[in-house]
């Protein structure tokens, strides 16, 4: 998923404060459209970004929607979500589509997509 030779170091100040200085190494395998769901309410003393994620994810919310909502780069949001996954405060619903670009979903799956689009 990552570009191999890339080294991550985003806008230093904001990334450092929000993530406590962690970087890409801790980033889990989260897709833009992995749906995040809260498993608990926020607890007192929690970091404000974590609180906002838990509030937003009372309903399933894609990682990219969280990034937009929190106004943070996607990779920063992935780190924040991974904290909450680690502590069991949220769960993740991963996309079923194959990750490799050369692979296609099967025909039955695509049929469902077509039905959904026709019903729009």
């Amino acid at each position: 998923m990552m570009i191999r030779e890339a080294v991550d170091s985003e806008d230093p100040d904001r990334l450092y404060t929000v993530t406590g200085g962690r970087s890409r190494a801790d980033e889990p395998d989260l897709d833009l459209v992995t749906l995040i769901v809260s498993e608990t309410d926020p607890v007192p003393g929690m970091q404000s970004e974590h609180v906002r994620i838990l509030r937003t994810c009372r309903y399933p919310t894609a990682v990219v929607e969280l990034a937009s909502e929190l106004n943070l780069p996607v990779s920063v949001v992935k780190i924040l979500v991974s904290d909450l996954l680690g502590s069991g405060h949220v769960s993740a619903r991963h996309p079923s589509s194959p990750r490799a670009s050369a692979q296609l979903p099967d025909a039955a799956f695509l049929k469902k997509v077509l039905v959904g689009l026709h019903n729009l």
């Binding site: 998923m1 894609a62 929607e65 990779s75 670009s101 099967d106 695509l110």
Partner: protein
């Protein structure tokens, strides 16, 4: 957008978002790619169930074309902004539609952002065909299936789709359609054309293997 403000209004959901159903389990991606002002956001807006949202991704690349004698500037920071909308296809499947700029720096982030994308729509403005060449080349390089949609700006119909196909040196296998990105039915047609194409590719592969 500030959470304290929405809380003051007593909303359970920040910023008045339209939440997904609790049964939603599977997120899908389709990318609309094209040059500046070609109508990407318009297309996303016309089919999305939510107002298009913006976000960005940042990446620092080390060691691209580095002169090893200069110790300082061996990193370039790439930031790309993109917008997206959403379509609930059924109880479980949610299609996210991304509007992505086709310029060069964007492609550094393609794998990170769009691995697992079902396919892409290359949106073309015939007044600026050059913008589309690069996108088509990159999609072929990444092995992402795509179709091409000509957005009907004034004057675009002076040339036939056949002529456009030639100008783009587009293979016969790649569907090429007309659209008006402002019109929901038209944008919906474009998405259906893409998924029909994917369906054909997928069934062809299943018969072979």
């Amino acid at each position: 957008m500030d959470s304290t403000i929405s809380e003051a209004h007593g909303r359970a959901d920040p910023a008045g978002r339209t939440p997904l159903r609790s049964t939603a389990t599977d997120g899908l991606k389709i990318v609309v790619v094209g040059g500046f002002g070609v109508g990407k956001t318009t297309m996303v807006r016309s089919v999305s169930e939510i107002r298009p949202l913006n976000t960005e991704e940042t990446m620092t690349q080390a060691g691209v074309g580095v002169d090893h004698n200069t110790a300082v500037t061996d990193k370039t920071t790439t930031t790309v902004a993109f917008d997206f909308g959403r379509i609930s296809l059924n109880e479980e499947m949610i299609l996210y539609l991304f509007g992505a700029p086709g310029q060069e720096r964007f492609w550094f982030l393609w794998d990170r952002l769009f691995a697992g994308t079902l396919g892409a729509v290359v949106l073309v403005d015939t007044r600026r065909i050059e913008d589309s060449w690069y996108a088509i080349d990159r999609l072929e390089h990444h092995g992402t299936p795509f179709i091409v949609a000509r957005n009907n700006f004034p004057g675009s119909e002076e040339h036939s789709l056949g002529e456009l196909r030639e100008a783009l040196t587009l293979s016969r296998d790649v569907p090429l359609v007309d659209c008006d990105a402002r019109v929901r039915e038209s944008s919906k047609r474009v998405l259906i054309t893409l998924v029909d194409h994917l369906y054909a590719l997928s069934t062809a592969r299943e018969t072979v293997s």
